[in-house]
């Protein structure tokens, strides 16, 4: 080994001298890195292997990056200047960066670079080496991933590495993962007591590798023989697996509840504006879905205006959608609905006409095709809690957004002048008028408020579904169901109804499938209305008579 490294160093420094003299500029970078890299460029696989080993020993932060690039086939030599680069294929050209100092270089054609190849043996060796390097990386997440990756194919040397790392590991999660890996290893040890102890300890830890390990213990092979000869161990593993499975059921229940809540949040957002117009004014607004559609398209337009500011455009879209949908709502109220007060069925038909009109308008302006609205980075991806439980961020944000809108709306109704007037008109229109409340203006403002909230709901919807002319139509029946189920004129009822319908839907889905679950929920509501025609939380007092 020593002998080899000496000759290698000698050879490499010779090459370096040549390279330096060719470029004619002195490099201040640490020479060992350069030497190792030069060795990598040499053709023979033995040399490459040695270069890889020396890169590891260097403990240079660049080593890991270079080795990872090498493993994923992204390490290239430029044919022109013999430079080592890391390249990302980008259509015809390669987007390249200098391997040593990470400086971006001009894109280059595919023919101008040659890839550094590896043998399969070298590749698997490299994988282990990278694992080791990652185990000592600075970021806790990288270390965690490395520990988990090691579980796939662990050997004595890695075990030693893990043990040494465990002693100095500061991060609790990584520590836990290492202990877990060591326990998994102990399950396979020769000492039976040790194995039993390991299984006992493992059963409190639910993660994918534990489940796989335990499953492999109780599996039969193709001849019907148990893979594990010892029946005590098998029984123990089975018991441990059963315990973990109950835990997993809890996780899946949590996940279902979360999905249900997020669906409920969408339902509440779409129904809450309806609850105001329907509950407070007694107006059935069939165009409510189209007001949501307007909100979604507002998001789309703002994103077109600010293509590089995804996050900002979504934030800006919220007030913009509120204002635009609210103004359209006021226009509808002043233009048509006010002539139809006291005739709910006619209002229903007229607003339905408006909804067709708005749909077709959008079709004419934006084309009948769906438009895609991009999701900002902080809203995409998911929150990985453990191997079995991950919650998507966009749903999470919508849930929070829904609650915010709800609380804000309640505050407006409770603590502002407008809210006071709205409640007064809802309770007793004629008395309110007699007390000097301008009911016509309040009607318009209420309708505008409900419509504005529909627009805001549209912004939220644009983040989870396609934005198209039929966006509103697909939510209108659902949102009516929520309002009717919760009890007309009761915002809290809408909230409870939306969340319970969402959760019910998601719990039914695994048994019945998505469509059948929806049908079952609809049938349930139809039956529920028979029992309690005024919903979960009926209005009491005089308002209930009308």
């Amino acid at each position: 080994m020593n002998f080899f490294s000496i000759t290698r160093y000698g050879l490499a420094s010779l090459m370096l001298c040549v390279a330096l003299s060719a470029h004619g500029e002195p490099k201040t970078l640490n020479t060992p890195l350069l030497e190792a890299l030069t060795a990598i460029k040499q053709g023979s696989m033995t040399q490459r292997e040695q270069a890889i080993n020396s890169l590891v020993e260097l403990k240079n932060p660049r080593s890991l990056v270079i080795l990872q690039a090498l493993l994923s086939g992204k390490l290239f030599i430029c044919k022109d200047d013999d430079k080592l680069v890391i390249g990302e294929p980008n259509e015809q050209t390669y987007q390249i960066r200098d391997a040593i100092d990470d400086a971006p270089l001009a894109p280059i054609n595919a023919e101008q670079v040659s890839k550094i190849n590896l043998t399969n043996k070298l590749r698997s060796q490299l994988r282990k080496i990278i694992g080791e390097l990652e185990l000592n990386a600075e970021q806790a997440d990288t270390r965690l991933a490395a520990v988990k990756a090691m579980n796939q194919d662990i050997d004595e040397r890695m075990l030693e590495l893990l043990k040494t790392r465990l002693a100095i590991e500061p991060d609790a999660r990584v520590k836990q993962a290492i202990e877990n890996s060591l326990l998994l290893q102990k399950v396979d040890s020769v000492d039976k007591n040790e194995r039993i102890k390991a299984i006992e300890q493992l059963k409190t830890q639910a993660n994918l590798s534990v489940v796989n390990k335990l499953k492999s213990l109780i599996e039969k092979d193709s001849d019907g023989q148990f893979a594990e000869a010892d029946s005590d161990i098998r029984n123990l593993a089975e018991a441990a697996l059963a315990k973990i499975n109950t835990q997993l059921q809890v996780y899946s229940a949590i996940e279902t509840v979360f999905f249900g809540l997020s669906l409920g949040a969408v339902l509440v957002l779409s129904a809450i504006g309806l609850a105001i117009t329907f509950g407070v004014m007694g107006v059935i607004n069939m165009a409510h879905g189209e007001l949501m559609m307007i909100g979604a398209y507002t998001t789309y337009v703002i994103q077109q205006i600010l293509p590089n500011q995804l996050g900002l455009s979504v934030i800006l879209a919220i007030p913009a959608a509120f204002v635009i949908a609210g103004l359209v709502g006021i226009a509808i109220e002043r233009g048509i609905i006010r002539f139809l007060y006291g005739r709910p069925l006619e209002t229903l038909l007229a607003t339905f006409g408006i909804s067709l009109f708005l749909q077709q308008t959008v079709r004419s302006i934006f084309s009948p095709l769906n438009r895609s609205v991009a999701t900002p980075e902080w809203m995409s991806g998911s929150w990985q809690i453990n191997d079995f439980l991950s919650l998507t961020w966009n749903r999470f944000y919508i849930l929070i957004f829904c609650l915010l809108v709800f609380v804000l709306l309640l505050q407006i109704l409770k603590h502002t002048r407008l809210g006071l007037e709205v409640r007064a008109v809802a309770q007793n229109r004629r008395m309110a008028k007699a007390m000097g409340i301008p009911t016509a203006r309040v009607d318009a403002m209420t309708f505008g408020l409900g419509s504005g909230i529909a627009g805001v709901a549209g912004v939220a919807l644009s983040q989870i579904t396609n934005v198209g002319p039929n966006l509103g139509q697909s939510y209108i029946v659902d949102s009516f169901m929520v309002v009717v189920f919760g009890g007309v004129g009761n915002l809290l009822g809408t909230l409870v109804a939306g969340f319970s319908l969402g959760i019910a839907n998601k719990f039914l889905e695994p048994f019945a499938g998505a469509v059948l679950a929806k049908i079952l929920v609809l049938i349930f509501i139809i039956l529920f209305i028979q029992k309690r025609p005024r919903g979960l939380f009926p209005q009491k007092g005089r308002a209930a008579d009308s």
Partner: protein, 364 residues
């Protein structure tokens, strides 16, 4: 509005009836008596088109009975129409026999395609025409009975009722889209070959279907007209105007409502059964809430609570739809949307009401 029915002279009713009779008999007669190249000969397309309008008119008439006379704005009336259509469609599917693409003597093509081994139980009996006809009225009738019994007994009224009828048709729409339901899923039932042994494409069958549609409409109009003028009909009208008062007078409001609702659903089923053989397809889109709302607009457009108003409305709106979707495909939804607004805000009594008002002004 409520006085419209009584203020109308019987003359209007009689003239509508006579026109219908004339159309019903003249078109098939022309086709039977004249050779195909004669100018008096109507093309198969025209016959089917007008036949389709007539079945829509019957559908509109049935909705007018529940909405115009009983005040129940049913937004799911299209569901009964579609169910009647599916019943006759199932008969027509069984008639295909082994002439389908896969040549299975028993299973329709879509079932072979889904790898089904045997006919689901609810498809049995549909190879008999009589059974299918029975189902055309029984299936919509029993759905209306169960739904209406539940809804009217617990006094669900007004917009609540409208919304849950819409939910009903929406649920059916989703259900019929499922392949597992055994009704052809998305594509529905189509590729019909024969009805009672006669080719469904043949001109004679088309003319006969046309004649039947016309006759069904005329008989339904006469029956409904008679019905609304009986004591039962008067009670139903009274329920529309003052439900609570009728209840206090000792009538069991829910039974009257249920009766009229079931009867109208059966009429709608018949309309569907006449529609499907003439257009040659039935698919789940007939259940869409939009279709049911279109029926409402026919009735509102023609003038509700008059019976013949619904017929006029259905014919006028559908004729406009055919012409306009051909000329300006994009404009139809604008016009339909506009119709909803104009009719409700400016023409609460529809075309019939407008004509009546003009006539009265002239006389005055």
């Amino acid at each position: 509005m409520k006085l419209l029915a009584s203020s109308l002279t019987d003359k209007t009713y009689a003239s509508v009836l006579l026109t219908l009779l004339a159309v019903t008999f003249i078109i098939p007669l022309c086709n039977w008596l004249t050779p195909t190249d004669s100018p008096l000969h109507f093309s198969a397309y025209t016959v089917s088109l007008i036949g389709k309008y007539l079945s829509f008119a019957l559908l509109g008439l049935s909705l007018d009975l529940v909405w115009g006379y009983c005040g129940i704005l049913a937004l799911g009336h299209g569901a009964f129409f579609a169910l009647g259509g599916y019943a006759i469609g199932m008969y027509l599917m069984r008639q295909i026999g082994s002439r389908g693409v896969y040549g299975d003597p028993l299973l329709p093509d879509f079932m072979v395609f889904l790898n089904w081994q045997e006919l689901p139980w609810y498809w049995f009996g549909f190879n008999h025409f009589g059974f299918a006809l029975l189902m055309v009225v029984l299936v919509p009738g029993s759905l209306a009975f169960v739904f209406g019994w539940l809804a009217f007994r617990s006094r669900v009224t007004g917009v609540y009722l409208s919304i849950i009828t819409q939910a009903l048709t929406y649920a059916l729409l989703l259900a019929f889209f499922r392949n597992e339901m055994g009704f052809g899923g998305n594509n529905g039932l189509t590729d019909f070959k024969e009805i009672l042994g006669f080719s469904i494409q043949s001109e004679a069958v088309r003319s006969t279907l046309f004649l039947l549609s016309g006759l069904a409409l005329i008989i339904a109009l006469i029956t409904c007209r008679w019905l609304v003028n009986t004591k039962l009909g008067r009670v139903i009208t009274a329920i529309r105007d003052q439900e609570a008062r009728v209840r206090f007078l000792g009538y069991r409001v829910e039974l009257f409502k249920l009766w009229i609702f079931v009867f109208a659903a059966m009429l709608a089923g018949i309309a569907g059964a006449l529609y499907v053989p003439q257009v040659g397809i039935i698919n789940p889109s007939e259940f869409s809430p939009l279709n049911s709302l279109e029926i409402v607009i026919w009735v509102a457009m023609g003038g509700r609570g008059t019976l013949y108003g619904a017929i006029i409305g259905a014919l006028v709106v559908n004729y406009c739809k055919t012409v306009l979707t051909g000329l300006l495909p994009d404009a139809w939804l604008y016009i339909l949307g506009g119709l909803f607004i104009v009719v409700t805000v400016l023409l609460p009594d529809g075309i019939v009401g407008l004509i009546q008002r003009k006539l009265k002004e002239q006389r005055a």
